[in-house]
């Protein structure tokens, strides 16, 4: 009995190790994230999933920067006010960014569906109403293309709820100075557990 347990224990430890290593390396169908966010998403964003992001626009830009830095195309839908300069500061490659600023609710699903075919990540404002049928059709398209959709608002059955908010600004005083930097708190709520990371703005590569 004694002789049996020792190899079993080592074997279990080995398997455990293997499992952990497997979990840490990015999976094949995942979307890469910005180096500052690897702590939050060790395996990257899940391909074929929809994330719901609330709060800060900088958080959306941080998410866009990941696949863009890796050389993929990204799409932004329904955001006419996107700060292109800030996106470039985060590391988003503007020559690989397609913008669809105005979109009618009737076209929403089809536009997203055709964008996810060619881009790794699409950031979009959701329509006011979306039928469950359209949701499942969109999910099927996402799964086949392996790209990720980040919705700025609520989404039924999102893979994780993300929140970005600025917790601190520096450099500005009463009547003088100018903003020189800040701190962005990025929170991820997945399976009722919340983890967060603080990012410095502007990001330093």
């Amino acid at each position: 009995m004694e002789r049996m347990t020792a190899p079993t224990a080592t074997r279990v430890a080995e398997l455990h190790d293997l499992l952990q290593r497997h979990e840490q390396t990015p999976a094949a169908d995942s979307v890469p994230v910005h180096p500052a966010l690897t702590e939050l998403f060790p395996r990257g964003l899940r391909g074929g999933a929809v994330y719901a992001l609330h709060g800060s626009m900088s958080a959306a830009l941080a998410l866009l920067a990941g696949p863009s830095l890796a050389g993929s195309w990204c799409g932004v839908v329904g955001l006419p006010d996107l700060g292109v300069e800030a996106a470039a500061e985060w590391g988003v490659r503007l020559d690989r960014l397609a913008l669809v600023p105005q979109i009618s609710p009737a076209d929403w699903t089809s536009v997203i569906a055709s964008l996810v075919e060619v881009t790794a990540l699409v950031v979009a404002t959701p329509p006011e109403h979306i039928s469950p049928g359209e949701v499942s059709r969109l999910l099927a398209r996402l799964r086949t293309s392996g790209s990720t959709l980040v919705v700025l608002g609520d989404w039924p059955r999102a893979a994780a709820a993300l929140t970005g908010r600025i917790v601190r600004w520096a450099g500005l005083h009463a009547g003088h100075g100018h903003l020189s930097g800040g701190t962005l708190r990025f929170e991820v709520t997945e399976r009722h557990r919340t983890r967060h990371v603080d990012l410095a703005i502007p990001v330093r590569p």
Binding site: S56, W73, D81, L94, D95, V100, E117, L179
Partner: protein
Amino acid sequence: MITNSPVRVMLLWCPGWSVLAARLTQGISADQAIALTDRGFVVACSAAAKLEGVTVGLRIRQAQHRCPELIVLPHDVVAEARAFEPVLQAVEEKIPDVHVVRPGIAAVRAQGAGRFYGGEHAAANALLAHLHDFTEHELRLPVDLRVAVADGLFTAEQAAYTSSTVTPLHIVPAGGSADFLAGLPVAVACDKKLDNLLQRMGIRKLGDLVQLPRDQVHARFGAAGLRAHQLASGEDAPILSPRTVPPELGMHVVFDPATDRVEQIIAHCEPAASDFAQLLTRSSLICTEIRVTVQLEPDALFERLWRHPWQFGSSEVLDRIRWQLEDLATEAATVDDDSLGASVLSVQVLPESIDNAEHHAQGLWGDRPDEKVEHALTTLQHRLGHDAVLTGTVAGGRLLHERRVLRPWGDALPTVRERRLEQPWPGAVPGPAPATVFSSASQVQVLTDLGEPVTVDDRGTVSGQPAWLRLQEGHRRIEQWAGPWPIQQRWWRKGRHLNRFQLTDNQQAAWLLLADGDTWFTEARYD
């Protein structure tokens, strides 16, 4: 390439073509004194100017001194060549495959023409008669025309120069080049430096040069000397390269009767567009800019330039026509979706910038996006409209919406020089860029602690401490602020005098506001 047996050449020379062309294009009468100048020197002048003492090589000021009523024009080689084009076409009516030596001088092969007209003499006379007829009736200008027939271009040109108005035809018999050239000065076959040297050595005529052994001339005077010796012995290039007329690119679709249905117009344009694309491909050209002209029934033109970063295919051309017609329809604001305000008589597409396809061959790591991405975005644009799918870049500027440049997908983005990003732009916002830049500024109110609106006067004095920010969605307490930062923009055009403020509120949002007197606008938000 120079050989012993040059081709038999018939050469047409119009003496003083530069002046004639200038008179033709500028509409100056024959008795006026004209001088064409290049970099301060006279390069050609009319007979009237010559009588007054103006010569080639004179400074403009000296020429004007000798002839005060002299008309001085810059020497425009392109216009000269363009004016020569009808003469070339007239020559081609008689003898095909014209070789243009330079504007004013054209050459054709004499052999075929001689056979056809029964002798070189007859052919040359036929050509002269035809051209005299043409210049009198078409150009309405007495043009002095000389024709020479000889072995090789060089001899023919020299022969033409020795002809006169009385005997405008000079034929040098085959194999007689060396004898004819022997009496000419060496300057005609070499440049100034070599001419000077040969003159000082006592070699004054081409006949003297031919007497010398060729290999020694080559050894002493180099390639220029060798070439002069060859030309002097009557050796010249064995071929003439006929000019190539570029194919006529572009498409023109006429509607008879005129129509106002977009779909119908597009359907009519489709075959022409595919022909246009095929013609481009066949000529191995690519087109990156087209001008679409829509002619409307009550005599109106609607013209627009369209650019494409890579190249126009037939479907891209059709898309541009459709978008232009749709713009026309929105301008006319008709109730019917598919019809335009006016009937379309014709649609014309002309290529504006054309380049060789080989210059645009994709490298191993082409900067052109993936074909799949290109196709998907173009399809999306086709469905949603030209300016629905955009790409962006950052440009220089003081106001943030000027720094964001968005262009429709497929349109060329401004170049690095046009963006002027590296210029200093005093008054630009320091620090990190805001993540939200409002495309349309909304009005807000900034109040002091007492609830009075904060104003900024012309000298940049703020009336009170900003304490409250009143947005559409509610009040926010201002925690920190800085400003006013004046934006001195185009003050010479009496533009608005704006002051920029940066502030953070109690909800940890930071704002950029623009103050114009007592009106405040949101420019951007840091979030």
